[in-house]
């Protein structure tokens, strides 16, 4: 018998000694209850499904919090982002830096002067 076959036989015999995993009482009933809950959710229409999805998502990013907490955090983050975004061009204009005028931006000016000297 090769080493691999002998390992396989040994492991198979060993795993047969493991106690069987017996489901707790009511386990299959709980699974069916999950099915019933899904069906009831589905009957409520697409909005209920979206809400349930949002609830699951919020549970992932902010476990234990009601739905409005992550929703508010997201709204505040959006407002801050929009505010900063609106304010940025004004700041750019004040410093004389404009994305619309790339020609005025001469990063390699000194290198070019060097090349001309050579």
């Amino acid at each position: 018998m090769t080493g691999e076959n002998s390992d396989r036989d040994f492991v198979d015999r060993a795993l047969r000694q493991l106690p069987h995993a017996t489901p707790s009482s009511g386990f299959e009933a709980a699974l069916l209850a999950g099915y019933d809950a899904w069906k009831a959710e589905r009957k409520k229409g697409p909005w209920a499904a979206i809400k349930a999805g949002l609830r699951r998502f919020s549970e992932t990013i902010w476990p234990g919090a009601p739905l409005w907490v992550p929703a508010s955090a997201l709204a505040v983050a959006l407002l801050v982002g929009a505010g900063v975004g609106a304010a940025l061009p004004a700041a750019g204009e004040q410093s004389g830096f404009s994305l619309e005028q790339p020609g005025s931006f001469t990063l390699f000016a000194s290198d070019m002067t060097l090349e001309e000297d050579l």
């Binding site: 492991v11 060993a14 000694q17 995993a21 069916l32």
Partner: protein, 184 residues
């Protein structure tokens, strides 16, 4: 090849409770056995299997027979659930390393069936998760290498390599129990 579950999946997706019950009866016990061995804890394994079935119900209505075998998909979802749960676990404290099975230190005499099962379970838990998954799928589900590889999303060669390394490692960890496990 006809998928024996395809009809029930389609019916469950349309709201047929009896079809859902048949799917549960057919697959839940086997899924639980593998999840229990992957996770080591009964309650967590039951939670994982519940999560798998919730995923199943939400996908059942959109299930397209012929794309993949239903059972393969089901076990893949279950394995991913187990991997997620294992990764979310906090790292074991260093003191726990003292509990690691050490062949020389274990009393071989008087090892009853329960203790033997515990020792084997512990040795199994010490394997890297993918080696453990490969061994469990092939042993408890009695799957062929092709199907097990498909569930794990790897090539058959990679699965065979995982199996060989896992079995060798497990045997080395259980060598001191050779007399109880049997020489074959």
């Amino acid at each position: 090849m006809h998928d024996p579950d395809a009809d029930d999946v389609a019916k469950a997706g349309q709201g047929d409770r009896a079809a859902a019950a048949r799917l549960i009866g057919r697959h839940a016990p086997k899924l639980l056995t593998v999840a229990r061995r992957m996770l080591g804890a009964q309650a967590e394994a039951e939670d994982a299997v519940q999560e798998v079935f919730l995923r199943l119900w939400t996908h059942a209505a959109r299930w397209q027979p012929g794309k993949a075998k239903f059972e393969t998909w089901l076990y893949r979802v279950m394995l991913n659930q187990c991997y997620d749960r294992l990764r979310r676990r906090p790292a074991a404290p260093l003191e726990a390393a003292d509990d690691v099975a050490d062949g020389a230190a274990l009393p071989d005499a008087g090892l009853d069936e329960g203790k033997l099962g515990q020792e084997i379970g512990r040795a199994l838990d010490e394997l890297p998760e993918r080696q453990k998954a490969a061994i469990l799928l092939c042993h408890f589900r009695e799957l062929g290498n092709i199907e097990a590889a498909e569930i794990m999303g790897i090539s058959v060669e990679a699965l065979e390599s995982l199996l060989a390394r896992g079995r060798r490692s497990l045997r080395a960890r259980l060598e001191h129990l050779k007399g109880f496990v049997g020489d074959g």
